[in-house]
Amino acid sequence: MSWQTARGYCWARGMRMLGERPALTFGGVLVGALALALPGCIFMLAQMLAPVGSRLPVAEVTAFVAPGTGAAEVKALTSRLEVMDGVVRVRLIPREQAWAELQRRMRDGQAFTEIKPNPLPDALAVEFAPRTAVPTVEATVAAMRKQPRVESIQADVEWYRRLSGLLQVTAGLLVPVALVVALLVILATVGLVRQLAVIDSAELRLLDQIGAETDFIRRPFVYAGSALLGLAAAAGLGLMAAARVLANPPLEELGRLFGLELGLGYPPWPLILAFVAGCLLLGAGAGNFFAGRQIALAKAVS
């Protein structure tokens, strides 16, 4: 059928357009792949850090109970602490358990056997909700210090403040960085498709003169743009896979040190498909747009 011939011609023409300029095509695919892989890797990193991030910045303080405090008083103190602002859990660490743990951890446990009686107090481990604001933690810690039967409080609020700040800045930067990178991707790839249209301006002029319809003139550029970005997307996914293979062993090692599960995982399949489809559409749109502009320019010149 004749429309198949025309479309077949346009497809072959688009592919030849890429094949006739291997350097431009290869450069385009490479730039596109790098540009597309970058937000992909950022996404994989964010995906990995999301659960870790919700666990890491949990503030925890220890309230040491005054010596001689009875079990009922400890229970009452626990209840009072549990309802304080930001607190999600209060766990009792009995002095006997703390003493046994201390002995187990020390290399020379013998030295402890001579210390009698157990000098450690009962302790209450107070856990705050994830992402509790630093001023809330500080206010609650101050209120804890004033509680009866609390002898002392151990709280490294400064560490929590630094970690929270770091995570806030990271999370705040992630979205703008991803957006800037995505914008650069679009600009780089659109620029490459534009180059194809500029190079072929003589042919565009000829096709216009021989009475080819606009769709026929534009279609090879649509196909070429789409193929260019499709290849770039595939290569970008390849780079993401390579990054995953290279980064996962050291990340897993690091995770083991901190008792965390670290490792880059692929984005969900629907997202990958949407990513590839988006690239194909972007390439097609860029090809269509620049072919149209170039036709207008060629008409103005001729």
């Binding site: 004749s2 011939t5 025309a6 077949g8 000829l206 003169q209 021989i210 009475g211 080819a212 001729s302």
Partner: protein
């Protein structure tokens, strides 16, 4: 006063009509001035003028490739300036154009270059190949696989002519094909164009000089500094 060069019709049906047409490039360069001209169906018109006289401009206007700065053009009874893009493309497909510097795609074979207008007019590949072979045969060009950049300027002209006739045009516009050809080659080209006119194609041929052997059917029109004269 406009010069109306509408004499000696070979048929009584006007095909291309220019009515007080001017074409300006930029603010000052007037390439064609107040030209009125009627070309009749199956007429063979020879447009003679020196370099920069306005021949190519007139051909581009007659081929609906450019629009006039003022005045009105009708091709086959239609005003190209008022046509929709697809209708204009359809009109252009019925016009064969051979420019002074033939615009050939240097990376494609001769056959592919000649097939292009047939493919663009939605012919099947087989038919496009058949038409292209027939057109190349008609202009007596046999090296179908050659690349245009390997060809002499005369051969390029013949390939461009084959491409211009592949869609069996009603109007053939040929810009100065004989100036760079020797006498025999120029005569062959003129004979060929005359045959097209005999077979019903309207031919407008622009040339810098009068041919040694004037085609019998040809109507001569002169142009100088953008002004048509008899």
């Amino acid at each position: 006063m406009a010069a109306d060069i509408s004499t000696r019709p070979t048929s009584d049906q006007p095909f291309v009509q220019l009515d007080r047409v001017s074409r300006k490039y930029g603010a000052f360069r007037l390439a064609l001035s107040d030209a009125s001209l009627t070309i009749y169906r199956s007429e063979f018109m020879l447009l003679i003028g020196g370099s920069g006289a306005g021949k190519s401009t007139l051909l581009r206007l007659a081929g609906a490739i450019e629009a006039p700065s003022s005045g009105r053009i009708r091709i086959g009874g239609e005003d190209p300036a008022r046509m929709r893009p697809n209708a204009l493309a359809f009109l252009r497909r019925s016009i064969g154009n051979v420019m002074q510097e033939p615009l050939l795609l240097d990376r494609r074979s001769v056959l592919e270059n000649v097939m292009l207008p047939a493919i663009a007019s939605n012919q099947t590949r087989r038919e496009a190949v058949e038409r292209a072979r027939a057109a190349l045969n008609r202009v007596r060009f046999g090296d179908l696989d050659a690349l245009p950049r390997e060809l002499s300027s005369g051969a390029r002209q013949r390939v461009a002519l084959a491409r211009a006739i592949v869609n069996r045009p009603a109007l053939l516009l040929v810009d100065d094909p004989i100036s760079r050809l020797d006498e025999d080659a120029a005569n062959n080209m003129l004979q060929l164009l005359e045959q097209f006119a005999i077979s019903g194609v309207t031919v407008l041929l622009a040339s810098q000089r009068e041919p040694e052997r004037m085609p019998a059917r040809a109507r001569l029109v002169r142009i100088d500094h953008g002004v048509l004269t008899q």
